[in-house]
Assembly symmetry: C2
Homo-oligomer: 446 residues x 2
């Protein structure tokens, strides 16, 4: 019986563990992890593949040993949660080494099992040469295969932002690329400004991108694969499947309230629908402040925050998470692409009246060396002038525009507030009218 | 008689002119300018001096001719306003070529005369080798002197942010430097985090900085100057006086309400205390949203905004400026230094209870190549948790931290809101916990 039991030893799980220890240093606290490698920056995986980061080991913050040493918290690895018994306050656990299944009792439980890659039924995962880059183990296996066989032609399935980061990495390794996605566009869930910039960049880099294309099969023919997708055959030396993720809640979702995709529904305090069971991170929902509803937006930043909050609350705190506003950013070749709040499509789907306006400006004073183009689109409610969201594309760091926009969305500011926004200005860092403020000025209709 | 008369042809004046023309294309509109060179980016001057920007001409957006061509608005140069007669709706103007003084009648007047450098009574300005870099003409004269005489030793009077930008420029030109300031610290009006970073950098660059030092005289001895300051003699080949600016309102301040320093008091619509007279830019006050009072914070970004707003209102609009929050940023060697809202000192002086906490973090994921240190300090009201201000120092672009902080201050957010703030996260652009959010987390005391 552990007073506090945490299932999962990544962003959410370990953040929670640290907070519980901070608040209740003498508590009986245990962390179970399925994998051997815990506490790693999964978002850095594409940059190890590209060679920007020298080794997969750089992504690992803690080993079970170093975590115990630092925090005095035991992490048992190779333990998979396979069943949940809220009535008796127990989790059924499988020891992956011995195969033994046993029950672990808890006082308070945190489910932080994260997400798992969505798998295409037609692909034979685990086959050499077919990879899903989700864990450090996946990455290590892919790198070993690459070093061994020196693949020249890669097929990537999935052109969401994670797939696109991978596309860049492989392109920079000199591979020729075919990218297929069942959706009609790359970065299909992103605002139009971002989608258009991604498409332009795919063309510029001569990536063979095939939207609206379903994968039918992947067949090994001698040393190569032949991917059948749409009406074509795609020969490839290596295949990456990056078709998104789903919450790793198969083992417990019948016992708890979930979103339709299986994400555990949590309240503002990270409590699930059953007493003494908390959840946080990629396996859980998160309240979306603009939609006013729970959503599933798996992100390392959110997992860290909600892990902290869950830990504090499990240890007796009473914090409430005010919600995310849907901020995201990714790199695609020379571009920094970001969003916050709702896109026009999101807004219309959610029943808002929405209008979008955009503006371009340099990211520094126009006369300053290295000044680069930036474009920002904002989405707002025409009636009230309320800012609903923004998207930004630039060759610098789009967080420069999207973080103030995110703060404005968080605070419920109006476009007229943002039009006169007192943004930082100095020639080496920002122009007099940055693209966010200019877009707001237009939206305000002054 | 001009329906709309604008005195001053820089950020505020020309922004207003363009808006008046946009709103009332057939209006009778005239702009008077004292100098021959109008519409230039004065903030870029240090970067021409350093050589980052190839020529002073790059700073000029419009000539009187190109402005007339683009906007169909006449700008008469060489015209100095020397008197104001609100009763008769007239400005007394001096034609600097002929010396003729005449009156120009207006329907509505905008005073946008900017600021002029503060001059030390003990210095003989205009003497070859003693410069104040305020205009493009000043810059051109200084560059000519530098090319002619190749000065190796520079003395800079004034270590505010503009003086410091100049120090960097001269240092990069290879000059040895002595910097004196009558105040006890460099960047004396900036938050402590910034002051400390500046001082460290001055030491690192081996700049001879003498705080608390009054200049007593500057004497020419053969080819060199000897600056007497404090108890020492400072030999120098060139002297720069950058002792701040004051509003260029000597010609009209007896007719209008002003701040003690002569800045014209304006309301939220940019109206002065006399009917049909508006003011905007460095010659005018600006409402400080956090202080809840007018202040004089001369900045190009504010001048552009209030110029626009004044122009729209002069043409019949009814816009109100919500106020600035005191955002500023500058570059000093490798550092980007920024502030918004109130510093601890500002806050205490203004009667707030204030506490400051700071946090350090990398500006990208820690494992990402090129990740650099960033430090953010936030100031808040301990009772309410209201965010009052922030300062940031980093080697990237501090606007990444200060603009979201500025938005949060604008919106009156609490530190607990900022602690859970949904900031952009991706390894190449931002860490999971950025320094702003971490500081807020500490401030929230969770």
């Amino acid at each position: 019986m552990a007073e506090f039991l945490i299932i999962g030893a990544d962003a959410a799980g370990l953040s929670a563990a640290l907070q519980i220890k901070r608040k209740k240093s003498r508590s009986d606290l245990k962390v179970l992890a399925k994998g051997r490698i815990i506490s790693y920056g999964a978002c850095g995986i594409p940059y190890v593949l590209s060679g920007d980061i020298a080794s997969a080991g750089s992504l690992v913050h803690f080993t079970p040993e170093s975590f115990r040493e630092k925090a005095d918290i035991p992490v048992e690895t190779g333990r998979e949660a396979v069943g949940l018994y809220p009535e008796t306050h127990e989790v059924e656990v499988k020891d992956l080494d011995s195969g033994r299944v046993y029950r672990e009792a808890y006082g308070r439980l945190l489910i932080a099992t994260g997400a798992v890659p969505r798998r295409l039924p037609v692909l034979e995962y685990g086959q050499t040469g077919i990879f899903t880059l989700h864990t450090v183990e996946d990455l290590t296996a892919a790198l070993a295969f690459i070093h061994e066989t020196n693949p020249r032609r890669a097929a990537v399935i999935g052109a969401g932002n994670v797939g696109l980061e991978l596309v860049e990495a492989l392109h920079r390794r000199g591979m020729s690329l075919v990218v297929v996605d069942i959706l009609a566009e790359a970065a299909a869930n992103w605002p139009q400004l971002v989608r258009r910039a991604v498409l332009d960049k795919l063309r510029e880099k001569r990536v063979d991108f095939r939207p609206g294309t379903a994968v039918e099969s992947a067949e090994r023919r001698g040393k190569e694969f032949v991917l059948k997708a749409g009406s074509g055959e795609i020969p490839a030396d290596i295949i990456f499947s990056q078709a998104g993720t789903r919450p790793a809640t198969d083992w417990c979702r019948d016992k708890l309230r979930t979103l339709p995709n299986g994400a555990l529904l949590i309240d503002a305090a990270c409590r699930t629908s059953k007493e003494d069971i908390f959840a946080a991170g990629d396996c859980a929902s998160v309240f979306h402040k603009v939609l006013g509803a729970p959503a599933h937006i798996p992100l390392g930043s959110t997992a860290n925050k909600l892990g902290r909050l869950a830990g504090i609350n499990m240890a007796g705190g009473e914090l409430e998470f005010p919600g995310v506003v849907g901020t995201q950013i990714f790199k695609f070749f020379e571009l920094s692409l970001a969003r916050t709040g709702l896109s026009s499509e999101d807004a219309l789907r959610a029943g808002f009246e929405a209008r979008a306006v955009s503006a371009k400006a340099k990211d520094k004073a126009g006369y300053f060396p290295g000044a680069a183009d930036a474009e920002v689109e904002i989405v707002f409610e025409p009636g009230t002038g309320r800012l609903l969201g923004a998207a930004a594309v630039c060759s610098g760091n789009a967080s420069q525009f999207i973080d103030p926009a995110a703060a404005a969305v968080t605070a419920g500011l109006m476009v007229r507030d943002l039009a006169w926004f007192d943004a930082a200005y100095a020639p080496p860092f920002a122009p007099v009218w940055n693209a966010l403020v200019s877009a707001a000025f237009r939206a305000a209709g002054f």
